[in-house]
């Protein structure tokens, strides 16, 4: 079991820490329901629809009746919204054919409703290790569908990503996280394309030590991801705090330009770092602050 390093922030408000209701301690269904306005939640494609993965049982893996993705429609701050929550306890939040299509279809339907006069925002609760290995190719194909549907919806209504837990958001779904209008993360949350263990097994322990939690959180952790502008809002793991952050993000609406569209800025950041002598994680924000896009370098 991984655990984040203890918070070093001297400004930590312990009274708030002690009175909070942990968001990540809830299961995915409870998290989705807790975000929505009281009494408005209505689950789509629930467990009794029994749309489980057909690929797990032949491989000797017990399936889950909702395939680990919970889609709940309702209202958020009075406005129509759909919350799509990944259950991290089932297959490490791994996305397969069915769960991926549930996410993609929910985003597409929100886009359709938005075009038809019912503006519907989406919230993605991204606790996932990425594509489920048992459904590798199908899972990857659905990630493409998720990204495509996300791009369709974010032009019309905000798509808000939330990464709350220590599992984090990795693999294919981290690409979807990068496309979100606003990305909300806790200090315990993590975001990365390849997870620490994948990097260690592929490139060796000298490249990344997956047992060094301080190192991992100094690079993938929520505080660092917010400091370096790869996530937008750092929140306490608390139901009320996360719900307020999501509603605020919804109220900001659709920006003129999304983070993933600022290609020049992202390219300048890559160029500012020498892979042979990378900056210390604590210095990265300062290095990137001075990375200025070259003139004429437009997306």
């Amino acid at each position: 079991m991984t655990s984040p390093p203890p918070p070093r922030n001297e400004d930590t408000d312990w009274t708030v820490m002690l009175t909070r209701t942990g968001f990540i301690e809830l299961d995915a269904r409870a998290r989705a329901t807790a975000l929505l306005d009281d009494g408005t939640a209505r689950e789509l494609c629930g467990p009794f629809d029994r749309i489980e993965s057909p690929w797990l049982e032949p491989q000797g893996v017990v399936p889950q009746s909702d395939d680990g993705v919970i889609v709940v429609k309702g209202r958020l701050g009075g406005r129509p919204a759909v919350v799509i929550a990944i259950e991290q306890a089932f297959q490490g939040g791994g996305v397969g054919e069915v769960s991926g299509v549930k996410i993609a279809a929910a985003l597409s339907l929100a886009a359709r409703d938005s075009r038809d006069g019912t503006p519907t925002a989406a919230v993605l609760l991204l606790e996932t290790g990425g594509v489920r290995l048992q459904e590798a190719n199908l899972g990857l194909a659905t990630v493409a569908e998720v990204c495509s549907a996300l791009l369709e919806l974010r032009a019309l209504q905000p798509v808000i990503g939330v990464i709350a837990g220590t599992l984090g958001c990795f693999g294919g779904m981290s690409i979807a996280a990068g496309l979100c209008t606003t990305l909300i993360i806790t200090a315990e949350g993590r975001l990365g394309l390849d997870g620490p263990q994948v990097i260690e097994s592929e490139a060796g322990i000298a490249e990344f030590d997956a047992s060094d939690h301080t190192l991992i959180w100094s690079i993938d952790g929520g505080a660092q991801r917010t400091r370096t502008g790869l996530a937008d809002v750092l929140v306490l793991d608390d139901v009320t705090a996360i719900r307020s952050a999501v509603i605020e993000a919804m109220e900001r609406g659709v920006p003129g330009e999304h983070r993933s569209q600022r290609i020049g800025e992202l390219r300048a950041r890559l160029e500012a770092v020498d892979p042979a002598a990378p900056p210390a994680p604590a210095d990265l924000a300062a290095v990137w602050a001075h990375a200025v896009p070259q003139e004429g370098d437009q997306p």
Binding site: F48, V61, V62, P63, Q64, E87, A89, F90
Partner: protein
Amino acid sequence: MQTLNFEFPADRPPLRRAHVGVVGSGDLEILMTPEQAGTARVRVRTSVDGFDTVWRTVLERFFARHRVAAAFELNDFGATPGVVTLRLRQAVEEGRR
């Protein structure tokens, strides 16, 4: 992975269906659907092979006390007998509301 089927005599159908739990380490998911017939039908899909006798004992004991006429689908990921019994009681309680 192993699939097991059991039937027990039962005469009290729940008021409504219920869903509890997740297929996560040491836990299980239960789907309970009311049935008119006088039996509790249980299908267990478990990640751990070879515990047929333990499952029978745990379920027999539960359905001797709670004669709930329903179809029970258990998707198990290594829950202990204690967790199985707690989840079954939770499902039955939800079905009473």
